[in-house]
């Protein structure tokens, strides 16, 4: 207490003197302020830090790992270290086989690789680039154990003896082309491109699956987004113009599907859309469809579009509704009193003001739909699946993780680009829940 009294006297004394304004602890006020601001910032960061570290570890690191895997290619260098060095001097465009020393390096590498069976993993890795190379490695792996490296002098002949494919220059070209630590091979494959002898070229038309798939994903997402606008706009308009009590009641009809488990809604559609399901039964009973000509509504694109429109519709209605609520009804009344008919008043005055809502809802629906996996997987059959289903296939069935990572990276870039747009026009902070 006494201390404070002293310093307050100090202030009283020092007040007429020009110089930095001092706080009651005798330090310049500016410095104290900066110090307290710094402490505030540190406190805020201290509160955020645990979560930030948690998210970085559990979420950002996995995403970074995926990005890394899409270009990573350590396996060739790890399994065939000597061969990779020996191949550096070989001119792959000459059309001639590598020299005897390279074959010897391959024999030594393979002998070691067979010990921990890493040659089969290498084989399946290179098989993504050139089919048939996997069996080449597996067969040679069995035979190379019996090859005596000390005794043999002509390794080319020894390899040709083990498998004729070893004198095929193409296989060596593939090994050399993918011997780097990093590769663009997965991205090329994801874009239906391949590395030929004359540089990068398109794969034959009938093998262009990813291009077709990407195109289909974008096309169907657009159709779904458009159907959401078509169905969502009238509902949002109705909700925004009705009295508050009624609209709150009707809003429940929108929120209930929004809150219902995705799996429940998907199973509902799986049940409804079946050939012997409720919709077809009703149509037959009404006489709109003959019993022997029931509609095929599931396991095709129609199924995916219907089910996903239903699932994403609340994501369109809610942002539209929140924008339409802010449009003052007096504008439309003013337009009408100036002589506009109903249509003109709506189209020239009301609609332009609701466009931000359409933009927000559309971007949201589009982003959500291009990354969807569950619903297309269940109701989409083979013709109605999206690019995400292909990613899942490569992770769990074909085990081509690099290609899965490359496809995921491409999808991520598209989605982040769209979010950047969303943030620019709507603002991420304006995301509202419920």
């Amino acid at each position: 207490m006494a201390n404070t009294a002293d310093s307050s006297q100090d202030i009283a004394h020092s007040a007429p003197v020009t110089g930095p304004v001092l706080g009651n602890d005798g330090r310049p006020l500016k410095a104290s302020l900066a110090k307290s601001l710094r402490r505030q910032k540190l406190r805020a960061l201290g509160l955020i830090a645990p979560l930030l570290i948690f998210v970085l570890l559990t979420f950002i690191a996995p995403i970074a790992d995926m990005l890394f895997r899409s270009v990573e290619n350590n396996i060739v260098g790890d399994v065939l270290p000597r061969t990779v060095v020996a191949l550096q001097d070989w001119d792959e465009t000459s059309g001639e086989l590598p020299d005897n020393a390279t074959f010897k390096a391959m024999a030594l590498d393979l002998k070691e690789a067979v010990e921990d069976k890493s040659h089969t993993r290498l084989g399946s890795r290179l098989n993504y680039e050139q089919s048939g190379i996997s069996s080449l490695f597996r067969q040679t792996g069995r035979k190379v154990k019996r090859l005596d490296v000390e005794e043999t002098t002509d390794f080319v002949a020894a390899f040709e003896d083990m498998n004729k494919k070893w004198v095929d220059v193409e296989n060596w070209q593939t090994i050399k082309a993918f011997s780097g630590r990093f590769t663009d091979g997965y991205f090329l494959a994801a874009a239906d491109l391949t590395k030929g002898p004359e540089g990068i070229e398109r794969v034959p038309e009938n093998e262009q699956i990813y291009y077709t798939l990407l195109l289909r994903t974008l096309k169907m997402s657009l159709i779904i987004t458009f159907s959401c606008i078509l169905l969502g706009y009238p509902i949002a308009f109705l909700l925004a113009t009705l009295p508050l009590r009624t609209s709150n009641l009707l809003l429940i009809l929108v929120l209930l599907p929004f809150w219902t488990s995705l799996l429940v809604r998907t199973s509902a559609w799986k049940v409804l859309l079946q050939q012997q399901g409720v919709i077809n039964d009703t149509l037959v009973w009404l006489g709109l469809v003959a019993d022997n000509a029931r509609l095929e509504l599931i396991n095709n694109q129609t199924g995916t579009i219907i089910a996903m429109t239903h699932i994403l519709l609340p994501f369109m209605i809610l942002p539209l509704f929140s924008v339409m609520k802010t449009i003052p009804p007096s504008y439309v009344r003013a337009a009408k009193s100036l002589g506009a008919n109903d249509w003109t008043a709506f189209w020239r005055v009301y609609f332009p003001q609701s466009v931000p809502g359409i933009g927000a809802g559309s971007i949201l629906c589009f982003i959500l739909s291009i990354g969807y996996y569950i619903t297309p997987e269940i109701v989409g059959g083979t013709k109605g699946v999206f690019i995400s289903n292909r990613i899942a296939y490569h992770i769990s069935s074909s085990l081509n993780w690099g290609l899965a990572a490359a496809l995921g990276t491409l999808l991520l870039v598209v989605v982040l680009g769209l979010y950047w747009l969303y943030d620019k026009f709507v603002g991420i902070d304006n995301v509202k829940l419920g």
């Binding site: 509160l47 995403i63 009238p234 990354g371 992770i395």
Partner: protein, 283 residues
């Protein structure tokens, strides 16, 4: 927008036409969910209404799919797993998330936009990409196929919801209340639990509910990060839908619909209470 008495026939036609269209869209939204309810009481193993059901014959209805759900060990294991994973994931995301939301609401936060972008990112990135990344990374560090792996993945997915709802509640928070408490001698911890926490509790609870639903309803990530020991309810439904679809799934769906109606009611009540506490609406 009631119909004025001087409306022309065309306006009248449009008024009723528009309402018919809206009714049809509402039906599209709600009927698929409601149809599930009676179908789950089907006495037969069909996915459509049997003639007995349409005649409201008691013979056509039964609880056998519910009995199957409660006696089948696959389904019961799935329920147990879901109830082991979701609360833990919710606890992690709510405790970390609330602290961080309070930190983010301070007036001076360096790199606020960048931090916010990182914390919200699990909601933005498509689930299949999160699942792929987590599968790769968690198998590197030995978390793939473990209970904690799934819990941490789900906690990460739930965090954006907690951050969004709690920061929204904090926008209306009067900081002079904490200063008053500090002025009266309460320490920071006491101030937090006695003053700040009760006021932001509605936001915390609804954020927690969102996090819980996210985990309870999540299937893509658990499919990749989990193993057979973490087979959750949505996973079991997903396998059921993809392989041999049995009507038991309709009973499960009905139970889940009842749960979501209950949760929707809770969130709505909380929202009203929070607005009332902050004096934003007179009700």
């Amino acid at each position: 927008m009631a119909l004025p008495i001087y409306a022309s026939p065309l306006q009248r036609a449009w008024y009723y036409g528009f309402r018919t269209i809206c009714t049809l869209i509402f039906l599209f939204l709600i009927v698929p969910i409601l149809v599930i309810l009676p179908l789950s009481f089907n006495a037969e193993d069909f996915f459509t209404f049997t003639p007995e059901m349409l005649r409201f014959d008691p013979e056509g209805y039964s609880l056998k799919h519910y009995r199957d759900f409660f006696s089948n060990s696959d389904w019961q294991n799935a329920v147990v797993n879901s109830l082991r994973i979701a609360p833990m994931a919710t606890f992690l995301s709510v405790s970390f998330g609330t602290l961080a939301a309070i930190g983010l609401s301070q007036p001076h936060v360096p790199f606020r936009r960048a931090i916010m972008a990182i914390l919200i990112s699990p909601m933005i990135v498509p689930l299949i990409i999160s699942a792929a990344g987590m599968y790769f990374f968690y198998s590197r560090i030995g978390l793939q196929g473990t209970y904690w792996g799934v819990v941490m993945a789900h906690a990460a997915l739930g965090i954006p919801f907690v951050i969004i709802t709690v920061t929204a509640t904090l926008v209306g928070f009067d900081n002079s209340l904490t200063r008053a408490a500090a002025n009266m001698g309460a320490g920071p911890v006491r101030t937090f639990f006695r003053i700040q926490m009760p006021l932001i509790l509605p936001g915390v609870i609804s954020g927690g509910l969102f996090a819980f639903i996210t985990s309870f309803d999540e299937v893509v990530v658990v499919l990749f990060v989990g193993s057979a020991g973490q087979k959750t309810l949505p996973w079991q439904m997903f396998t059921g839908l993809r392989e041999q679809i049995s009507p038991t799934i309709l009973a499960v769906a009905t139970i889940l619909i009842a749960i979501s109606i209950a949760l929707l009611t809770v969130v709505e009540l909380l929202r009203r209470r929070s607005e009332r506490l902050r004096g934003m609406s007179p009700g």
